[in-house]
């Protein structure tokens, strides 16, 4: 046999690369999928951008804090699209009935997850970069001007999105396509309490501790401090990073438990509802 057999137990970047290639083939063969990546962020930008322009004309605060809505919108989209990009790539396997082939191949769960992370970054780049560029001439808001804090915001939000995505694919493995709606909707549950568009202080006091337990809350507060007060709140960035580590670790544990439950229940062989 001319096959190469390197140690099978080790994490294989070659297999991760194979899965990234699989998703790249899918995107490059399907222009509607590419358009869909750009479509919603653009619609959101136009909707909220014009709302902000209107409010800024009638409010000194918003006139001085230009980009508050758009900045929040773009960062929210980073959070949402990182989770959806992760979960949708996995759903593609269920929709195409390919999951069985993958699960019976040498691909390890960790390699599968790593490839989902990588492709979510690719999808995020395709979807978000054109929109951030569009915001400059249309609304005079250059999110790239936030500089290094933007890199931190981006990484922290993507990490949160992956953590939620990991739990969602665990649920999909255990419960099948019946749980598909979670991948579309779960993040929206977090939207009001992560205080995307308004400060935590606006929440009822009973909800505020919950909000502060969520990493994105710290990012959105940090973004507002940067845009309104022109201050980089490293304390908020540090707390978001610490919470992200906790969230991601919890998501890994949840994923492994759901995968083990799926093996016990035999649901890995059933990718229907």
């Amino acid at each position: 046999m001319s096959r190469t057999r390197s140690p099978s137990e080790a994490f294989s970047f070659a297999r991760v690369g194979a899965m990234i290639l699989r998703y790249w083939y899918l995107l490059s063969n399907s222009w509607p999928r590419v358009i869909e990546l750009v479509y919603w962020p653009t619609v959101q930008l136009l909707t909220w951008g014009y709302v902000q322009l209107y409010i800024a004309q009638n409010s000194t605060f918003f006139a001085q804090a230009a980009g508050l809505f758009i900045g929040a919108l773009l960062l929210w989209d980073v959070l949402l699209r990182s989770q959806q990009g992760f979960a949708f790539a996995f759903l593609e396997e269920m929709w195409s009935r390919n999951l069985g082939n993958l699960l019976m191949s040498p691909l390890k769960p960790s390699e599968f997850v790593a490839s989902l992370m990588a492709i979510s970054l690719v999808r995020l780049t395709i979807g978000m970069v054109p929109v951030t560029i569009l915001a400059i001439p249309l609304f005079g808001f250059n999110i790239w001007g936030l500089g290094l804090p933007l890199v931190a915001f981006f990484c922290l939000l993507v990490m949160s999105g992956w953590a939620v995505g990991l739990v969602i694919i665990g649920i999909l493995l255990r419960h099948g396509l019946g749980a598909e709606a979670l991948s579309w909707s779960l993040m929206f549950l977090l939207m009001p309490i992560t205080c995307v568009y308004s400060p935590v202080a606006m929440l009822p006091s009973v909800l505020q501790p919950i909000a502060w337990a969520l990493p994105p809350t710290h990012v959105f507060e940090g973004m507002r401090a940067l845009i309104v007060e022109h201050t980089v709140r490293t304390d908020l960035l540090a707390s978001a990073a610490a919470l992200d580590v906790v969230w991601f670790a919890a998501a890994v544990v949840a994923f492994h438990r759901l995968l083990a439950a799926a093996r016990r229940a035999g649901s890995l062989l059933q990718d229907g509802e």
Binding site: S2, S8, M19, R22, Y25, N29, N101, S105, P106, G266
Partner: protein, 291 residues
């Protein structure tokens, strides 16, 4: 002999329609099992149990698949065939019993074993948007197949897929999809091949063609094949041994000839029906005594 050696593994399908070649393409009956030096069987299952709550999907199943042999797993719907295959692939956690594949425990050695195995079923698909070549490239990389491009070209030629390599998988007919799925299943030259109803939904000619290629693959490589099937003529033709499952248990097992002699029947289909009717009668008797 290398599977990607200079000699073609299979004749192109067109030769089936060549008057002079057609006769020689017909299988002679059953390919003799290829023996190896390895003392352990390809698959050894002992007292395998899978319970889903009160339901016993698999209840104390034991069997062996010798190296280079083909084993048929027969049984009606719900007999436990797919659950057994799921446990063999490490996808379903057994409630009890042991599985050894190529001398290693499954699922403990799953990562090592899956590189030496492969699987084909009409109940899983390959991504429709990807071309045949793209699909085979992805799976070849997952199995870390050396000289992948050459391997794909060779198998595509053997499975008469060369003209379809750049066609999207979703645009293939059922027979073409089966050939692609088999090509994928042979990409890594598996030592153990698990097939779940490999000819389901195929016309008789294509099904015969697939069986011929499976026989040729086994003869060429000495691979061990486990086939779960409802197709009795297929099992009679391909399998050295047959395990008949009924309600999660082994109802009987042996060579096709042994089973035919034991049941006093002329075909495995009749044997299968005897087992299924006996099972139904036992259930009816149990229900009556329970009233």
């Amino acid at each position: 002999m290398s599977i990607i050696g200079s000699a073609p593994l299979f004749r192109p399908r067109s030769s089936l329609y060549n008057g002079t070649a057609a006769a020689t393409m017909r299988p002679t009956r059953r390919v003799t099992a290829v023996t190896t030096d390895a003392p352990c069987p390809a698959i050894e299952v002992r007292d395998l149990v899978k319970h889903y709550g009160p339901v016993k999907a698999v209840d104390g199943v034991s069997f062996r698949l010798e190296r280079g042999a083909t084993l048929g797993l027969l049984g009606g719907n719900g007999a436990g065939k797919t659950t057994t295959i799921g446990m063999l692939m490490g996808l379903i956690e057994a409630s009890g019993g042991t599985i050894s594949i190529l001398g290693e425990p499954m699922p403990a050695a799953r990562a090592r074993l899956l590189e030496r195995m492969n699987f084909e079923s009409p109940y899983v698909d390959m991504p429709h948007r990807l071309t045949v070549r793209q699909n085979l490239t992805v799976f070849g990389r997952l199995y870390r197949v050396a000289n992948l491009g050459e391997r794909i070209e060779r198998l595509a030629a053997d499975f008469d897929l060369t003209s379809l390599l750049d066609r999207r998988a979703g645009r293939l007919s059922a027979g073409q999809k089966t050939r692609v799925a088999l090509t994928k299943a042979l990409l890594n030259a598996p030592e153990v091949l698990l097939l779940d109803e490999p000819t389901a939904s195929l016309d008789p000619d294509t099904a015969d063609w697939v069986r011929t290629r499976l026989e040729a693959y086994r003869a060429e490589t000495g691979a061990s094949i486990l086939i779960a099937s409802h197709n009795m003529p297929e099992v009679e033709r391909l399998c050295d041994r047959v395990v008949i499952l009924a309600a999660g248990r082994v109802a009987d097992q042996g060579t096709p000839a042994e089973l035919l002699a034991r049941f006093g029947r002329d075909s495995l289909e009749e044997v299968f029906l005897d087992v299924a009717r006996a099972r139904r009668q036992a259930v009816a008797t149990d229900e009556e005594s329970g009233r």
